[in-house]
């Protein structure tokens, strides 16, 4: 099972990400993606869904037309782990 990141490792991992922020009152990270239209937004979600299932780590996310809001945390670990950083990195790659 993935272990919670130490504060210094979490800080370093956050430095390597762009556009992600810590969620208030919760050990989680979040980002809002905006696309050209619904097709682009849902196309992104479909790509992420496949990767999520493959690595067995899934986002909390919502979609309104061309906007996708994502929150990542590792429920089993009660906070942020390498899995969240890995999925965040993959999402940025898939949104690119």
């Amino acid at each position: 099972m993935a272990e919670r990141l130490k504060p210094e490792d979490r800080a370093a991992a956050m430095q390597a990400l762009t556009g992600w922020h810590m969620v208030e009152n919760r050990e989680a990270i979040a980002k809002t993606y905006r696309f050209k239209d619904f097709i682009d937004a849902f196309g992104f979600m479909a790509r992420v869904a496949i990767v999520s299932e493959k690595i067995d780590h899934h986002p909390e996310w919502s979609n309104v037309y061309r906007t996708v809001e994502v929150t990542l945390t590792t429920h089993d670990a009660g906070g942020l782990t390498e899995l969240d950083m890995k999925l965040a990195t993959e999402m940025d790659r898939l949104a690119g």
Copy 2:
């Protein structure tokens, strides 16, 4: 453009739907779907996405693993229209 439903038409349309409820403080309807797992939940979303784009009417929705929460309203009309009832009916069919 779709016109807002009259209260009596809205009530009749709601009667024909199962598991949908009016949202508080907003002219919108909502439903929570629960599936077996993420693959089933996202498979449902993919089917709905295609129908949504086809009828040019899109849900506000969120997903956490096997749960999909949906809210429908017609922003352009400032409330509920036939489009929402049509999409709700389609979603129930696609979830079945």
